[in-house]
Symmetry: C3
Subunit: 343 residues, 3 copies
């Protein structure tokens, strides 16, 4: 393997990190990883950062083994589920070698599950987003309760819903921290500094994505405060991370930026907050985190109706990502349907 | 806006009320609303009736904003999910302005979610029925536990299943009340008088629908009594409302009335009772009502196999509804498939 | 009805028993039944064996009534869900005449639900496997808690997850018993002798199936031991039955046997163990058994990506089953797609 191949492989792998927020950019991916390392060392859980690296590599490798012909690999679409598995396992499970074994296996699974789910969803013009990570991690986190080798040391206890408290600090400084943590929690990191890392990382690739990420977390925070949601979840940024992803997805990835798509993205962000709250409550009896499930489900609900938001400024220059091919295929097909309708 | 436009808009909106039980008729819709007003004032919860009005208008408006080209609006297919959201929110949540804000947002969401779900389900020759209402209301009711601004004051407490009691009054008069309440509960109203309103409303548009609604609630009651189901649910009519809808759907909406389709509808009604019982138990740990979920799921299960019930009397005169277009498309496609099979 | 017709009907019905493990063979089916009778009499629950017979006949009859034209009946594809319903109901519910009535109704339902689910899943090149049995039995078992006429006398109590213990006997003799029970539990039988019956029954029709069944239970046991899973579930063989089915499905039914498909099947078996563990925990608050749900879901996840495992030895002689037609259709379609891709 010569140096050029190594560079290609490293770039594709780092792209996988960037694709968690829809950015096909190795620099964005690298800055995401830097943010994860900062946050996890700050929280004294360095295993989370190393988990991210291992999960990213394992899932990318799984794609390399079984889907060498696919274009997905070069766009970093093999790695984005795996890096999230890698963040989640050491966050919730005991740090044993069996945990690392399960982490590697589950990361690889997400690559295959993604291929399958995308095939199923293709006719509806959506794809699986981060749901392969969400589904398989739910399975393994649930399994950890009945398997002593991967004990759920830092997972919440199962309980019937109802133990919430609603008093919190709403000073300006505190609100900024909640807002930034909402962005950091996309990778399950509880650090406002990491939130800054992530915003910069987004801006490196797309200023639109950085804007919608920031708006997503801010609007989610506002809705959560307005409806007096649980204080501990607000302060940890747990109402923010799914809306961040919804904002980037609906505001500037699957729709061209414009005022109509902006209104639609704002509605989607608000809906994601309620989906997050509802799923939080639903998962209480299992002591299970929602992960990015609320983002996936809400984004599907807002993409499937296929409302069209074409504006004069059809495609924004700054807006580039591995989802481009998918989106332009989709646009072309829509045009065909429209043309057919006219006849 | 001249008077004719206003009349059209009012008719289409009232059709939305009628479409809850598959009837495209403003008079049926008006009588449904009358029944809701009667029942909710009788139960000292007038906000339920006003919620119905607000939800109906909000969801119809949502369709008007985003789907003006669609034929669905004129058939009242934008409003039927929204009116149910409007009945459910004030039934279970605290009567605050935030609740009304959430009610309006959720009602509008159902219109968009319906469009998306129908696209997904189209290849299977089914549609989303009242599931957009069911799904989004589940989400908001769950969310209400973790959001103090829309507190779940009259929602059951989450608990592990097992607290049932089976002794009840089975005098003839009592049974008639349970039977009528089963019909009234389609709109979450706990009043036997409202049940009479609804039967009359159905008969105004279709005597078949009135018959199947009546049979649905009666057979469900019989099955619930035979299998000794929970008494408080029986007396409140909670085993009846889903089978009422299943009966109308399978007996005379998606199938032409006839003896074969009648047998199939009876089987579907019985299955709906078990689905209702099963989902009641499943939702205990969340303190969540099933809403019309059991109707949706069972009706899908009985529609998807696409058994054909063509009888000599192919189409009944009295049987007319906004679902006609959908059904006749479906029939035509089936014929094409049959023709192809013959070749 | 002459003797030949009776023979045909009996063969088709017994095929239904064999198809639980994908074998279209009346002898296999008969030996499965023999194993069920042995085990249920050994456990002093003869009603389970008779339930199997009743469920098998009821579901086959349901197909005969509504789908006479279909080729599925002759291949035994009507009966395999029903026989499992017949095993499950008397295992968990009170032995009353209402239970038998519900058993017959639910068995018949599975035949119709299977037709519907297969239509839905056809575009994804998968089918419903035993999921009609799983879904409808979940519904009725849940319903049994709220219906005193079919009381859940031997179903676990609902509880929040967490009551596990991890000490167990790992002598060689004990491990063999757990391994054989894992195979017997496919039909919900807790007897190692029945496991031997089932292995012999498989070998009568396909030595590959017997091999993959044996490997499935053994590998599942190894993974469960390695990850220190709950002892009572291991000793009862409850980690084994789903992987047994996954092994047969992925190893030699939907893929031709070969080293690549073997690796894929091994991965699928391991994944099934985690799916089993996860679903066990998820169902604790409902006191509900997973049934063969983990097998269905994992097998779908491993079939949908449609990786191709064509080997030199394209089709194995011993490998024959009612799934043949389905699989060869699938292969043909894949070839068409490949040919199209080449152009």
């Amino acid at each position: 393997m010569d140096l050029k191949n190594i560079k290609t492989a490293v770039t594709a792998t780092l792209d996988g990190s960037g694709q968690v927020m829809f950015q096909q950019s190795a620099w964005t991916g690298l800055l995401f990883l830097a943010g994860i390392f900062w946050g996890s060392y700050e929280c004294h859980t360095p295993q989370v950062a190393w988990g991210a690296v291992v999960g990213l590599i394992a899932s990318t490798l799984a794609g390399y083994i079984t889907e060498r012909g696919s274009k997905d690999g070069a766009q970093g679409l093999w790695g984005f589920n795996g890096i999230l598995v890698g963040c989640a396992f050491p966050t919730f499970l005991d740090n044993t070698w069996l945990m690392w074994l399960a982490l590697i296996f589950c990361s690889m699974l997400t690559t295959w599950v993604r291929t399958g789910m995308n095939k199923v969803m293709a006719p509806w013009k959506i794809n699986s987003l981060t749901f392969p990570f969400v589904l398989m991690t739910w399975v393994f986190l649930l399994a950890s309760r009945i398997m002593d080798g991967i004990a759920p040391t830092t997972l919440s206890e199962p309980e019937l819903a109802g133990h919430y408290q609603f008093a919190l600090d709403t000073s300006f400084g505190a609100l900024v921290v909640y807002w930034l943590k909402g962005i950091a929690q996309v990778f399950l990191v509880d650090s406002w500094v990491t939130g800054i890392f992530f915003l910069v990382a987004l801006a490196v690739c797309s200023r639109w994505a950085a804007l919608w990420g920031a708006v997503g977390s801010a609007l989610a925070l506002a809705v959560a405060l307005l409806f007096k949601a649980d204080a501990s979840d607000i302060t940890a940024g747990l109402f923010g991370f799914s809306p961040v992803l919804t904002g980037i997805a609906i505001g500037c990835t699957f729709n061209s930026p414009g005022w109509k798509s902006a209104l639609w993205a704002l509605a989607a962000i608000v809906a994601t907050v309620f989906m997050q709250a509802g799923m939080d409550v639903f998962f209480e009896p299992f002591g299970l985190p929602t992960l990015t499930g609320p983002f996936c489900i809400t984004t599907w609900l807002f993409l499937i109706p296929l409302y069209k938001f074409t504006t004069g400024q059809k495609k924004h220059d700054e807006w580039k990502s591995g989802w481009d091919g998918f989106v332009s295929d989709l646009r072309r097909e829509e045009k065909n349907i429209e043309d057919k309708d006219k006849k």
